[in-house]
């Protein structure tokens, strides 16, 4: 016989910690048809020898109230409904924060009323003790009509206590459930006693004192900006060396393939197509890991809810809410984890809007690209001018994202929104093992979902840039007669109003999947080696390029138009794949590509033409 044990509970009840304690951190993503949110599960043996699958469900407030489809709550409820309808052997373990017992018991009452075999696991035993509170477990169990265990979810003995209770409950599975009707507030009052000393009472006030400072009307927003800036600076400081190391390892692997197989189509396909494509994915890994840990620290400490409280009003003006803040902020580092982080947004329309505008945030991959384009096309301008353009680009992304969300909420994602209601948990110290598990899970998910798409794209891109177009005449460099070059020439009449010739078009095709490939591709087509690492010779070549009438081919205006395009166009297949993964539809990734490319093209044309009118040369 095999049983399913579903862990449920309100957000912040201590479910992740308990899951970690029971499973030792082992988890795989369960395969449940029709469920789009990852449900972690682990197979283990109960004390009686029964095989069991522990499933960690998303946070849940109610099994009766109506919730929108696609939200975490709906997924959790669907899972429980499925267990009931399939008549499988199962137990629901409801994780309850005993410091907020009356709230947790509301869900307990609903679960007992629908008759699921239930075990209540009270976590935060350590917090109860440190705050001088005691729970009469036997009395509580009698009052609610189901077994209750009190554990410290961070301690090793939590596993044995919970699994023994589950085992007992499974043996009673054929006995009709006692359908308890009780008042959660009365039961909580009757079962929790205050045995606090003066010091323990002071400890209870910690959250209150911390909030007085962190949510102060004047100081609070400043502290918030400071904490976020420090967090992201720390993320970059740690991720950057790891990313550079990853870059070097990929370069070594490519060189190794070329050395081993010699120069030729096959070695080029493996080194420049597959290995380079894998590199595009792997260089994001350090950021994914570190950002996931940072997100977990924010969430588990209780500060994430405070951040939402502080910025909700500002985001409301744009049709979003405080819950969207963190994904948007993360988008400035990398869109991939930011898109995953939108799962904390309860309102499905708001979540979709956030997903759709995240690609406009100035992610870290844009910054080196901006530097390279600036040094390539605007190297003859003053450092001050280039710095001004750089800062302008950063804010242009932010402004574009906010304007886009304003427009989307009135068009594509129009509809009634759910105003913010967020539980403010007490401040807690995050648990390192939970953060590590989440980082591991998000890395695996990223590799599985995004990596596959990128490898396919990298193979297609290699064909476009390396294979000669049938019927094309032979030219000095193979890339000039490639499929991409032919497409670039065909597109020239369309892109000329933005100042882009066929060579730039080839660069844009090369950077369709990863914007950082733009300069490298431009280097190849202009016969300059290693342009990405040393762009100066390419800058010189572009500056010296002349039309038949002797006028320069590329000007400052070309560079500005190109940058305008780069600010808006979603040139990141990893992001597109992440949007597909979260929306489970090709409609929205296609929409993002379409609207960002149309905006990018329009902005490039406007910048190129207006700068001419302003006399920029």
């Amino acid at each position: 016989m095999s049983a399913t044990v579903a862990l449920v509970g309100r957000p912040n009840a201590g479910k992740s910690s308990l899951y970690n304690a029971i499973t030792g951190g082992h988890a795989r993503v369960g395969n449940y048809p029709g469920i789009t949110v990852d449900i972690l599960e682990c197979k283990l043996e109960l004390p009686s020898g029964t095989a069991a699958t522990i499933a960690d469900l998303p946070g849940l407030y109610s099994v009766e109230a109506t919730v929108d489809t696609g939200t975490d709550e709906c997924v959790a409820r669907g899972f429980i409904d499925r267990l009931r309808s399939e008549k499988r052997s199962f137990v629901v373990v409801q994780v309850v924060d005993p410091t907020r017992l009356a709230l947790g018991l509301r869900l307990t009452r609903e679960l007992t009323e629908v008759g699921v075999p239930l075990v209540v696991a009270l976590t935060h035993k350590d917090v109860l003790k440190s705050e001088g509170r005691a729970v009469d477990v036997a009395k509580l169990s009698d009052a609610i009509g189901c077994p209750v265990v009190l554990v410290n979810a961070r301690a090793r003995d939590a596993r044995a206590a919970v699994l023994a209770a589950v085992d007992d409950r499974l043996r009673k599975v054929l006995v009709a459930d006692e359908r308890a009707t009780f008042d959660p507030a009365d039961v909580a009052k009757g079962c929790v006693s205050d045995v606090a000393t003066a010091a323990e009472k002071r400890r209870r006030e910690f959250t209150k004192r911390a909030d007085a400072l962190l949510l102060h009307p004047v100081l609070g927003p400043f502290l918030f900006v400071g904490i976020m800036a420090a967090l992201f600076a720390a993320v970059f400081l740690v991720a950057e060396p790891a990313k550079n190391l990853m870059d070097k390892l990929i370069a070594l692997a490519r060189a190794g393939v070329t050395a081993g197989l010699g120069k030729g189509l096959i070695s080029s396909f493996i080194a420049d197509g597959l290995v380079a494509g894998a590199g595009t994915v792997l260089v994001f890994m350090p950021q994914i890991v570190i950002l996931t840990i940072a997100l977990e620290i924010l969430e588990a400490s209780g500060y994430l809810a405070r951040g939402a409280f502080l910025v909700d009003r500002l985001l409301r003006l744009l049709g979003l809410s405080g819950r969207s803040f963190l994904p948007l902020l993360m988008g400035h580092a990398c869109a991939i984890p930011a898109i995953s982080a939108t799962r904390i947004v309860r309102d499905p329309r708001e979540r979709l809007t956030t997903i759709l505008v995240i690609p406009l945030m100035t992610c870290s991959a844009r910054l080196p690209t901006y530097s390279l384009v600036l040094s390539t096309f605007l190297s003859h301008r003053s450092a001050f001018f280039r710095a001004l353009v750089f800062v302008g680009l950063y804010f242009a992304g932010m402004l574009a994202g906010l304007l886009a969300s304003w427009v989307l909420r009135r068009t594509a994602t129009k509809g009634k929104g759910l105003p913010l209601v967020l539980e403010m948990p007490g401040y807690r110290v995050p648990q390192a093992s939970v953060a590590a598990r989440k980082a591991w899970q998000s890395s695996k998910r990223f590799l599985r979902d995004v990596g596959t798409s990128i490898l396919v794209y990298a193979a297609i891109l290699w064909v476009l840039l390396s294979i000669k177009m049938p019927g094309a005449e032979g030219r000095e460099r193979p890339i000039e007669s490639s499929i991409a070059a032919t497409v670039g020439r065909i597109a020239e009449p369309v892109t000329r109003p933005a100042g882009f010739d066929w060579r730039i078009n080839v660069g844009l095709i090369g950077s369709f999947g990863a914007r950082e490939l733009m300069v490298g591709t431009m280097g190849v087509i202009n016969g300059v080696e290693n342009a990405s690492e040393a762009p100066a010779p390419l800058a010189e070549r572009l500056r010296d390029a002349k039309k038949p009438d002797g006028s320069p081919v590329y000007t400052t205006r070309t560079g500005l138009a190109l940058l305008a395009f780069f600010v808006l166009a979603c040139q990141c297949m990893s992001t597109v794949a992440a949007i597909w993964r979260e929306t489970k539809s090709w409609r929205w990734p296609a929409f993002v590509l379409a609207y960002t490319y149309v905006l990018g093209y329009a902005a490039a044309v406007i910048v190129y033409q207006v700068s001419r009118l302003l006399g920029v040369v």
Binding site: Y61, S62, E64, A65, T66, V67, T99, R100, L101, A102, L103, R106, L107, E110, R133, P184, A185, A188, K189, C191, V192, D194, T207, D211, L215, P217, P221, A305, A308, F309, L310, D312, R313, L314, R316, S321, G322, L418, P419, L420, V421, L422, E423, M424, P425
Partner: protein, 86 residues
């Protein structure tokens, strides 16, 4: 009086939630139901959310536009629950 304009620190009780049934039911499940006693702890600046603590021990951040749909009555001193929330 609604939650949007309740005085900070004064105990109040939810008299009615004037939202659509589904939204009111969800709010009830979260912990903001009719009859619940609460205290406004603070309001965010520029019309931002309201931070409240309920007698069930929960603390919530409620958007101001939603707070306008939560009608309250003032709890007199004799009615106040003297005990700390469990």
């Amino acid at each position: 009086m609604t939650l949007a304009d309740a005085a900070i620190g004064r105990p109040v009780r939810i008299r009615a939630v004037t939202l659509e049934r589904d939204d009111a039911a969800w709010l009830d499940a979260v912990g903001l139901s009719q009859g619940e006693e609460l205290v406004v702890l603070r309001r965010a600046i520029l019309g931002g959310p309201v931070h409240v603590r309920t007698s069930s021990g929960g603390e919530f951040c409620v958007a101001r536009e939603l707070a306008r749909h939560i009608e309250l009555t003032v709890v007199s001193e004799s009615e106040q629950d003297k005990g700390e929330p469990p």
